[in-house]
């Protein structure tokens, strides 16, 4: 019995390992956290990617060749990330990789991709370190230093406010990074950080932090976290009778923000890639198609992943011969790419240069207030 099992296992292993590569297909891999602690990011990242690739294939693929998309779930786990990126490269022999949504795991994947000289395009990792890993690593979003500056500028120049409190999600490097930059820039622009207090993703009660902030005289509260917590913070701030505007980053961007916070978040501002008021047909079509396919409105992770997939396809379509090196070159040359999250170009550091818009939440709409260019 044991022998039969071991033979079966060996056969499965060999079968699993050998993949016949189809010359008429372009193999693109992606890794995302479809389950585990950050499952929401992974699921939306995957949906955005899948939808984009489906659309591209429906229109004939890239120069006639269809894309074969291979996605692996890293379970929000570092070990898994290492394994799956290695697998995509060595086993599945993908020509390029999309991912990941978070900076931490992107760093792990980037090291492997760089070592193997396979181009990697992250849709939403905002920590500057990710692209510093090497010249094969790119990102389709702005980096923390830019976004932090955006809100600091908005607060001092548009709202003309000076004293800010920061509420940072200590567990989240995106939040920590943005908070640090915001603090630095605000001080440079003549503002003052009155208090810097933290919470953790998963928390539901923020009264202690808010009570502490309330006792100090602040003009605005900068809370660059994810919508899951921001929604509850807004609600509780209102309950405590606090009237200061809340300011945030693109982590707010999700229909759930309004769903959970309802009117409590109205009047607050955050920096985003696009506004729902956008009459840009690309954005409008994207939102419609996503809703039709998944029965839910897309969030920023999905939109960025969608753009990243299209960006990758564009780069590949421009190559004379599909090799990792050529794809890398074309990615670095991307200029004025028109995505659903705006127009972007790749800079010398392989970070996407794009404008940010500052929007105000009004019900389930994000109203355009101003845009900030890099």
């Amino acid at each position: 019995m044991k022998q039969i099992l071991s033979i079966l296992a060996a056969v499965l292993f060999v079968v699993g390992c050998t993949k016949k590569s189809n010359d008429n297909e372009i193999l693109i891999g992606s890794y995302s956290s479809n389950t585990g602690a950050t499952a929401t990011f992974g699921v939306y990242q995957l949906r955005g990617t899948e939808m984009a690739i489906e659309e591209i294939n429906a229109k004939g693929g890239i120069n006639g060749k269809k894309i074969k998309h291979i996605n692996y779930d890293n379970k929000s786990n570092s070990d898994e990330t290492l394994a799956v990126v290695n697998r995509l490269i060595s086993q599945d022999k993908v020509v390029a990789i999309l991912g990941e949504a978070t900076s931490g795991r992107s760093k792990i994947g980037a090291q492997v991709a760089q070592q193997n000289k396979v181009p990697m395009l992250s849709s939403s990792a905002t920590n500057p370190d990710v692209t510093k890993t090497g010249n094969y690593i790119f990102r389709a979003c702005f980096i923390d230093p830019f976004q932090g500056m955006v809100m600091a500028k908005f607060m001092t120049e548009n709202l003309k406010l000076k004293r800010a409190a920061i509420m940072r999600d200590i567990k989240n490097d995106y939040s920590v990074g943005l908070s640090d930059i915001f603090a630095e820039k605000l001080k440079g622009m003549g503002g003052e950080i009155v208090t810097d207090i933290s919470y953790q993703e998963g928390d539901i009660d923020f009264k202690s932090q808010l009570t502490s902030i309330k006792a100090k005289n602040v003009d605005a509260i900068f809370i660059p976290g994810y919508y899951n917590e921001v929604a509850l913070v807004a609600k509780q701030a209102k309950e405590l009778g606090m009237t200061q505007p809340l300011l945030g980053g693109d982590g707010w961007s999700s229909p759930k923000l309004h769903e959970i916070a309802k009117t409590a978040i109205d009047g607050s501002y955050f920096s985003n890639h696009y506004t729902t008021e956008s009459t840009d047909p690309k954005t409008v079509d994207f939102v419609k198609a996503f809703k039709a396919k998944y029965n839910e409105v897309p969030d920023v992770m999905a939109a960025l992943a969608y753009d990243a997939a299209y960006m990758m396809a564009e780069a590949i379509s421009k190559t004379k011969e599909i090799t990792s090196e050529n794809i890398r070159d074309e990615l670095s040359k991307i200029k004025d790419f028109h995505g659903v999250t705006g127009k972007m170009s790749m800079d010398a550091n392989r970070d996407a240069v794009k404008s940010a818009v500052v929007v105000q939440v009004q019900g389930d709409q994000y109203k355009f207030i101003t845009s900030v260019n890099p």
Binding site: T35, I170, S198, G202, I204, S208, S212, A231, L232, L240
Partner: protein, 299 residues
């Protein structure tokens, strides 16, 4: 001073939630001598039970009736899940070493968390306002809501009712008997199975009630919602003296206050560690917790 009083109120408010959940942990430990790691997931199930009940019956507008229905949905779902978990995962292990049951409990907990992500979806859902969470009055410039009062009321009422059941009724006596000498109780005509199932059902129902109240107050639910709150409540139960109902409640309130002061006065980043630091300190001086009873070990 104002700030201190506000923090105190916040702390008591959070503490009452911890107290309610801690009661569940302590009850099961008291009877079975096991830490029901899955209690936090039963709490989560209660929340989803109410959520889907509301959705299925289209309970859109807040009203006392809708609140009652939602509560029923939560309590039934939580109680059923608790009952099934006990019957299929813990009962087979009643004669096994403690470690095995603990490991199983961890398994159940993880299964529900990740299973929940797959079945319910990992994204947070907006919990319906089953009852209007009115701002009733203000104390020290801090608004007191209906749900705050309800949670306090339910924690103390539960403490009272549970104490009454355990110390003044026949069933309670049976429970105490099962916890001390489960080998002798069948001889006394007590069905261990029934008593243990009853304990689980009561504890789970309590978790269900807590889930609804908390979800109305903080209207966001997701499959991982029990994790942090469960851990904190559990720690509260342990340092209050696991097995002691009073200990659970006192522990819950103390922890709530402690965490709140910590956040309010500047060390917010250490909140997670706080509960464990307190726990370790208490255990060093009183190894069975504040109100815990030392069990005499017979050779």
């Amino acid at each position: 001073m104002q700030e201190f009083l506000q923090h105190t109120l916040n702390g008591l408010s959070i503490g009452s939630i911890y107290a309610l959940l801690a009661l569940g942990y302590t009850m099961v430990y008291g009877i079975l001598g096991m830490i029901n790691f899955a209690h936090s997931e039963i709490y989560m199930m209660g929340a989803f039970g109410a959520f889907y009940t509301a959705r299925f019956l289209n309970l859109d507008t807040p009203s006392v009736l809708n609140f009652a229905i939602g509560l029923l949905g939560a309590v039934s779902f939580a109680a059923i899940v608790g009952f099934l978990v006990e019957k299929f995962a813990y009962k087979p292990l009643r004669k096994s070493p403690k470690m095995n049951v603990l490991i199983t409990a961890i398994g159940v907990s993880i299964l529900f968390q990740y299973g929940g992500q797959i079945i319910f979806g990992a994204d947070p859902k907006s919990f319906p306002a089953l009852i209007e969470d009115k701002n009733l009055f203000s104390l020290f410039d801090s608004p007191i809501h209906l749900t705050d009062l309800l949670i306090y009321f339910v924690s103390f009422a539960s403490l009272g009712i549970l104490s009454f059941i355990i110390f003044k009724t026949q069933t309670g006596r049976a429970m105490r008997a099962v916890s001390t000498r489960p080998d002798m109780t069948p001889l006394m005509g007590i069905s261990n199975n029934k008593i243990i199932s009853a304990t689980f059902v009561i504890g789970s129902a309590l978790a269900g009630v807590a889930a609804v109240l908390v979800s109305i107050k903080y209207p966001k639910i997701d499959p991982m919602m029990g994790v942090r709150i469960g851990m904190a409540s559990f720690v509260a139960a342990v340092f209050g003296g696991i097995g002691s109902l009073h200990g659970a409640v006192v522990g819950g309130f103390l922890l709530g206050l402690g965490e709140t002061y910590l956040i309010g006065y500047g060390a917010s980043t250490y909140k997670d560690a706080f509960s464990f630091v307190i726990l370790i300190i208490v255990l060093l001086y009183k190894p069975t917790g504040l109100f815990g009873q030392t069990r005499k070990e017979k050779i």
